[in-house]
């Protein structure tokens, strides 16, 4: 096979523990986002729009939903004769069988896959960020500057810099030192988890890293520091548009609301940079007489008879007469029954909110689902496939999930298997 210029590897195996019940049965990249999409659509569409044709998707945690979602890669134009999408789960070999032990180890275990395309460069991406980025430009920079690695960085507010991997750079943009979540950051350039490596360099690093029993086999913690200590040329690629890590309930909610509040920043309508997704095959959405839909994003298959304000609805959501949905995110197939009122809720797939349910921070009562570790800002999260009891009252910062054989405070009527 002819030598390929670049192979992209998307790290999509993370559990996303901070999303709680939303990632109970599916990997974070497969979580529905922004009405029509799933989180991984952004990275996959970036690849397509950057003319990258060979894309490996590394899966590990709860891969079923993600694997079936990606399928042949057809929705992203990634079903190719030469290249295309490849789902790469951990596997057993004659000498070893391991789960992916870290981001670097996941790539290490797929050296043979990458070698089979004999690429000059490898693009390492993460499957859980919302952004639109032209990787081809970054690759071009990498080649022009004859770098060993190029890392995409974005300026973050100084106050938040301690939450990120921070790159300290010289005037030319070359990385001098790297601080993982520094207490006193010296720079506010955060790594976006988007790397271009020259494959021969990375290949050697991965083999050396695998041999090191002390290593946690992570790009940020091990590979980048090791390359810096060897005085390798590591460059930064400045990214200046919308970028959001949706790793927490609060940031997931915020990023969804950005679609409504900052539509020009995240612009989904740019026909030169479409975000592709697998289509639900549903009719146009229907808004009944007497319904009210304001400041909201809707997609195919929704049927709205009630009120929807400042909310993001995925496909096939039904809001019945007299129901009110405010500042909320309703994932595919959710039903909000008559008279229910939702404030700042994230409702996962197909859950049925019963009649006259009241959920929101204004409800003052104690609740066994209260979860201040994962939920903040009064956001309430509902697991998928639940029927919430009619008349139930749920206060803010709750994560409502089915617990086998436990008291559920008359909040969950039953759980059902979703298809």
């Amino acid at each position: 096979m002819a030598r390929s210029n670049v192979v992209a590897m998307i790290l999509a195996g993370g559990q996303g523990t901070r999303l709680g019940v939303l990632t109970k049965d599916l990997a974070k990249p497969a979580v529905p986002f922004g009405s029509r999409y799933r989180i991984i659509d952004f990275t996959l569409s970036n690849c397509t729009n950057s003319d990258i044709e060979i894309v490996g998707v590394l899966t590990q945690y709860q891969p079923l939903v993600l694997n079936t979602y990606i399928g042949t890669g057809h929705p992203w134009d990634l079903d190719r004769t030469n290249g295309g999408t490849f789902i790469l789960p951990p596997y057993q070999s004659s000498s070893r069988s391991d789960w992916y032990l870290g981001t670097a180890n996941a790539i290490y275990q797929n050296i043979d896959f990458i070698d089979s395309y004999d690429p000059r460069h490898v693009l390492i991406l993460s499957g859980d960020h919302i952004y639109k980025m032209n990787y081809a430009k970054m690759l071009q920079e990498h080649i022009q500057q004859e770098a060993d690695a190029t890392i995409a960085v974005i300026e973050v507010p100084w106050a938040e810099a301690h939450r990120f991997g921070i790159m300290n750079v010289d005037k030319t943009g070359q990385i001098t030192t790297f601080d993982e979540k520094p207490k006193n950051p010296k720079s506010n350039l955060a790594s976006m988890g988007v790397y271009v490596f020259s494959w021969d360099v990375l290949r050697r690093q991965l083999i050396a890293d695998d041999a090191d029993p002390e290593s946690s086999h992570d790009f940020g913690k091990n590979i980048i520091p090791a390359m810096l200590s060897e005085n390798r040329k590591l460059m930064t690629h400045r990214f200046r548009s919308y970028w959001k890590d949706v790793g927490t309930i609060a940031s997931l909610w915020e990023a969804n609301m950005d679609i409504l509040d900052r539509p020009e920043e995240i612009d989904f309508r740019d026909r030169n940079w479409r975000i592709y997704s697998r289509n639900p095959i549903k009719p146009a959405h229907y808004i009944a007489a007497g319904a009210r839909v304001v400041n909201s994003a809707l997609t195919d298959g929704c049927n709205i008879y009630g009120t929807v304000e400042h909310s993001v609805l995925s496909d096939s959501v039904t809001v019945e007469k007299g129901a009110v949905v405010r500042d909320s995110i309703l994932m595919p197939g959710v039903t909000v029954q008559e008279g229910a009122v939702l404030d700042k809720c994230i409702v996962a797939n197909q859950t049925i909110i019963g009649k006259n349910v009241q959920a929101g921070a204004h409800i003052t009562k104690t609740c066994i689902f209260h979860n201040s570790k994962l939920c903040s800002d009064g956001i309430i999260v509902f697991e998928r496939g639940l029927k919430i009891s009619d008349q139930a009252q749920i206060p803010g910062n709750c994560m409502v999930e089915y617990r086998e054989g436990q008291e559920m405070d008359d909040i969950i009527e039953y759980q059902f298997r979703i298809r």
């Binding site: 679609i259 539509p263 975000i275 549903k282 009719p283 229907y286 839909v293 809707l298 997609t299």
Partner: protein, 370 residues
Amino acid sequence: MFINALGLIMADHRNVQLGELIRPRALSAVPIGGRYRIIDFMLSNMVNSGINSVGVITFNKYKSLMDHLGTGSFWDLDRKTKGLTLLPPYINFASADNGDIDDMTGLLYYLRGERNKYVVVANSNVIFNATFNELVADHEESGADISLLYNLDGIRFGAPNIILETDRRHYVTDMLQNPEKTPTSRCFLGVMVLDRELLIDIVSELMSRGIRVSSIDSMLLRLHKQYRIRAFNYKGLVLRINSISTYFAASMRLLEEQTRQELFWSGRPVFTKVKDEAPSLYSADNTVSNSLISDGCSIYGSVTDSVVFRGVTLSNNAVVNRCVIFQDSYISEGVVLENVILDKNCVVRPGVRLVGQTDYPVVIGKGAIV
């Protein structure tokens, strides 16, 4: 689901005139229901029946149909063998010289290359959601030469129509084209099933006699005395598109709960081309009532009793009432539209007012700037 049949769709219907709407495209490519083309319903019916080989017979203006169908992948018809086959006119030097664009040689090649026993042939001026498994099974069992679908619409959708008279065993005894009065309300639904070999015989015989075989209707009217034709009653919901006013009425019926349930939520999906539009955004002060809205729209104004296709912008203070607005149209501030069909890529300038009548909508052609 196994069905020993292939599908054949007539992309045009010579007797159905939709004026401006079919100026740039074949009848089957006319947009309907917010995100579909008319052909999507018949194509989905075939695919949902398990038919995995479909030929689409086109005569002219098939560019938009080809754009829409592509490789057939959205209907799962991108197959190594079988799948979707477009059958444009088979023009060679001889036929082009004598102006004969109805040469069906291509169709004969296609039919001879297939292996399925039966052919389901369908017009593209009817919309319903059903499968043909029962029809094909009934046809096989009955031993009839041709079986066709009808319902009890009579002549209320206007011409073109074919009214069937049948005997007790459901065999057709007479066929009437566009009668003024009718003793029966059995109206042909534009779908028939017959043996593939028989269709080959019929088509080649007609061709050898220099007879044009451009529609199922004319073929049936010519042949019904020669063959044993059985009629099969379809009882589900049907929308017939015979004219601009029936097209408009069909669009309005799509807003009714029962119509939407039967056509879209029956468990048999209606497939169409995926456009990857963004979700639709609703402003802080729009009002939308009893309307179907597709992806990629920006709604700032007011929409009542309307069907809005993908990528439409409706500006502030614009009022749209009983309208069908095709893809990517732009409606400026202060516009008032009532009983209007606005074709693709139109721009309506600020303050323009267009009002049609309930049964006679104003039709604005593709790409117009009003």
